[in-house]
């Protein structure tokens, strides 16, 4: 016999023409327009480039990608679904289903890279490594503990933003590094699609976090903020050890750490908080920044470069019919 209290209520049909929060539709549109699949990237063009990496560099790359696969798997199967239960609008729930699915696409795309470039034995070894790597398991555990159904909805969002806007970057660094040296450039194109998606996810979940925070008392807000900074410290501690293990042999650890600091600050900004790391610790290698956003600095701006080198931005198609002066 089923108890009435346990019976799931019939949800209301979702009406996208009646929004409680415009951000839901804005993000839905952004995410659906940005939809992609790994098949769209010609990964096989990287086969020759892959063969030019040393065995050590190849092993590192595969391991880094299995680490990223694990985080995407968590976000796909646990993180985004856990946030759905806390959605305050039906449209937010729908956006989260998109986020969950795209995380599955991300996780799937690493396997596309593997099947194009690597041997089965190498990949199997890396997946075994990911199951045994202490730091990878520790950071996953910290995040999963917050996703636990009994946890506070805002703490779940903090964990989610830290996963999407911070934890991925010790891994994203490597394909950006290869790309800056004209290696694995198609793989880098695919990773940039993932990086773009993660920015929207972190922004949106951070936005929803801020809306939730507004409804709390001063004391409760402080408690959540203290929790967020404590969690990022713990995660950062794990990330530095993870970074050293992976990147010390290539002499890249300090470079990766600057990238971690820079992204930790951005993760905190997504939550509406101030930065943690001072600017001098966030000086990311310009080659990595250029790999992250190619051509973005083509036009020098007035304040940071010489004004004379400024050129008026290149023509961009705008499709808004009211954009006519």
């Amino acid at each position: 016999m089923k108890d009435i209290a346990q019976t799931r209520p019939v949800p209301r049909a979702i009406n996208w023409n009646r929004l409680q929060d415009d951000k839901d539709l804005e993000i839905w549109n952004r995410l659906t327009v940005n939809f992609w699949l790994p098949e769209k990237v010609p990964l096989s063009n990287d086969i020759q480039s892959w063969s030019q990496l040393t065995e050590e560099e190849q092993r590192l790359t595969i391991r880094v990608f299995t680490g990223l696969t694990l985080l995407d798997t968590i976000q796909n199967t646990v993180g985004a679904p856990a946030l759905m239960a806390d959605a305050v609008t039906p449209h937010e729930e729908a956006v989260l289903t998109n986020i969950a699915f795209m995380e599955a696409v991300h996780a799937r795309s690493y396997s596309s890279i593997f099947s194009t470039l690597c041997s089965t034995a190498e990949v199997d070894e890396a997946f075994r490594w990911s199951e045994e790597n202490a730091q990878l398991q520790q950071k996953s555990r910290l995040i999963l503990d917050e996703y636990d159904a009994t946890a506070n909805p805002l703490r779940k969002k903090v964990a989610s933003v830290f996963l999407e806007s911070f934890l991925f970057y010790s891994g994203f660094y490597l394909p950006m590094h290869w790309s800056s040296r004209a290696r694995l450039t198609n793989t880098a194109d695919l990773i940039r699609l993932i990086i773009r998606d993660e920015a929207v996810h972190g922004y949106y979940i951070g936005y929803k976090f801020q809306r939730g925070l507004e409804r709390l008392s001063e004391a409760e807000r402080k408690e959540i903020k203290d929790f967020a900074f404590a969690l990022i410290f713990d995660l950062y501690d794990i990330e530095t050890r993870y970074t050293e293990t992976l990147y010390d042999p290539l002499g890249l650890t300090e470079d990766v750490k600057a990238f971690l600091h820079y992204n930790a600050n951005k993760a905190l900004q997504n939550l509406g908080f101030e930065s943690l790391f001072p600017d001098e610790l966030c000086k990311v290698n310009p080659a990595i920044m250029a790999a992250l956003s190619p051509n973005a600095d083509e036009n020098h701006d007035f304040f940071s470069g010489s004004g004379s080198s400024y050129v008026i931005g290149k023509a961009v198609a705008t499709e808004d019919e009211d954009w006519d002066f």
Binding site: D279, A296, D301, D322
Partner: protein
């Protein structure tokens, strides 16, 4: 010193950036129902970017509405754009779109709510920009 007008959605990134500048600024409202600022003296616009993967929709509708007033637009002297480098080549694209449409320079680009370095550079840059602007305008 010229004026400063900004748009910020409820994510609050641009709002936090502008408030840290510590300069007087007028806000373009989020809601189309609310009155639009109508500056009648030289000003700089601070705007975030919203482009999709193809670069469409970079400039927020409310910013477009604001600039659609020719009397406002003629006083625009430059644009400062917010964004996120994760969007690759489209980083802070709204700045380029406004610059191109209105024939004004992109003065600066920043990410999310900006860093301390960004704040210092923009404060110093605006100060220099207006000094030059008003000395040559006379």
């Amino acid at each position: 010193m010229g004026g400063l007008v900004y748009f910020s959605s409820r994510s609050g990134n641009t709002q936090r950036f502008v408030s840290r500048l510590g300069l007087t600024a007028q806000r373009i409202p989020i809601s189309p129902e609310e009155p639009m600022p109508a500056p009648r003296a030289p000003f700089v616009l601070v705007t975030p970017s919203y482009a999709d993967g193809q670069g469409r929709g970079a400039v927020h509708k409310q910013v477009i509405r604001f600039l659609n007033d020719p009397d406002t637009r003629q006083h625009l002297r430059g644009v400062i754009a917010g964004g996120n480098r994760n969007f690759g080549a489209l980083f802070a694209l709204a700045g380029d779109v406004v610059a191109q449409k209105c024939r004004v320079p992109v003065l600066y680009r920043f990410e999310l709510a900006g860093t301390e370095t960004d704040i210092a550079r923009v404060r110093e840059g605006l100060d220099r920009f207006w000094k030059t602007h008003f000395s040559t305008a006379i």
